[in-house]
Chain length 247, copies 2
DNA sequence: TGGTCTGGCTTGTTTGTACAAGTTCGCTTA
DNA sequence: TAAGCGAACTTGTACAAACAAGCCAGACCA
């Protein structure tokens, strides 16, 4: 179907790596050899391999054969932004429920993060998410006013907000910024997540943007310690992750 | 000097974005226009812009003009792996001291993560890192045996291990894998970081690999809550960050 | 034996061309 | 007025060619 040639080749090579056909530390075939094997131009092969380099599966330096760095397949953007889609891909059953939902004028900082004019109305939603029935994640989300009606029409116990918003109004979450740190559980956090007050939580503050670059929501997500970890691969040529001083 | 043309152009565009010449949400010039302005082929321009897209500064979709998503400059790989280099770039003064250092045979899991044969000797080092004098980070690092001698020769209070190892034996950290979650401070953590036992810490478990794909070290780093956060930008076309179930 | 050097291999950079596919916006039409 | 259409524009994919730059191993020399 409509998959690009270089994506097919990248997928093929990724599969071979995951299958163990190329062991960790082993060399990948040269571009010339791959171009020959797949009947594609060298540029196309380079594009395919670049995908794997970007995923951190393969290391590359000028002059030397490319080497396999890892074999774990990394997941897609969607699976980072959508709790439900991620859970499904891991074989878990996700459920969720709205605890509280509220309209109010936005604060100064929310206005900045969602590019709104201060005082514009926003929708705040508190959602508790479960994995196989266990409470795992507490989401405090602030939606921009223009998307609020669509969010309010959603089923309070709907599994995937991302999916539902796409089906309902064709909204696609395309870009995101994330800030990850650790905090102590407040009393509400503790009660809803079933942990003791003051126990460690993994916090992810994120802002999500539509395809067109329009901010849609920002959120403060708190994971129960031990339930979830974030994983990153990087190299000298890619720098996805950055350390920052806490606010 | 030896900087590639596309890197120069990427830098130029990044500067313009950081300077605010292109506001957030604004459109970037088309490839044709940029090619004209810089006197480069379209392919070269595409390569330059791809850098910015990868950094999360610019969003791109077929058919539509590229848009500016953010203006914060993200830092380099080195600044993620080297506490000292990161601190310096932020204008802080980093210091550090070795609390404990020890040789012992490696465990099963260490053997797997460092591709060693079980029982091979490793060097474990416990380091306390400070930012402007404040204890901020506790590093429990396991070095592969082949690099241990060079590590032991280092000054116990040396500022940047990464830098020193490069100067001493030409070792370059090139690839890394990171797992981030939250844990409660143990009694040793609490004592050294100056926090209460059980208080939240941000934990980063990492494995670092040399240019040649040879694992060098793995580490369990614990940050005092509130001192440091990790920041990631991603999009549908790049997926640097992945959520995982806790071990 | 040990170091150096060179030639072939491999990846990196750049240009050029052609076509495919998606977006945008103005114009037409019902 | 609103839906629909289409043309111009813009990004995505693919191929081809040439040279630059770094790596590696085997040959060579001291």
């Amino acid at each position: 179907m409509a998959m690009a040639r270089y994506e097919q080749i990248a997928g093929d090579l990724r599969d071979a790596i995951v299958r163990g056909e190329y062991a960790i530390g082993a060399q990948l075939p040269s571009e010339a050899e791959l171009a020959d094997r797949y009947g594609a131009a060298r540029g196309t092969i380079r594009q395919a391999v670049a995908v794997l380099v970007n995923e951190g599966l393969v290391g590359s330096r000028q002059g030397a054969r490319r080497i396999v760095l890892g074999s774990e397949r990394s997941q897609s953007f969607a699976e980072l932004h959508s709790f439900a889609q991620w859970a499904r891909s891991m074989g878990y059953r996700a459920s969720g429920a709205v605890v509280r939902s509220d309209r109010r004028p936005c604060t100064q900082s929310e206005a900045a993060r969602l590019s709104l004019t201060p005082g514009e109305e926003v929708l705040t939603v508190l959602r508790l998410r479960r994995l196989d029935g266990e409470p795992v994640l507490l989401e405090r989300t602030v939606y921009a006013g223009w998307i609020a009606p669509a969010v309010e029409r959603l089923d309070p116990s709907c599994e995937s907000v991302t999916q539902e918003l796409y089906d309902a109004v064709g909204l696609v979450f395309a870009y995101g910024e994330h800030l990850i740190d650790a905090v102590a559980a407040g009393s509400e956090d503790a009660r809803l997540l079933g942990v003791r007050r003051g126990s460690p939580l993994l916090r992810q503050r994120r802002t999500t943007t539509s395809q067109e670059g329009r901010p849609v929501e920002c959120s403060d997500d708190r994971y129960r310690a031990g339930s979830v970890a974030f994983s990153i691969r990087n190299s000298t040529s890619t720098n996805p992750l950055v350390r920052r001083t806490g606010d």
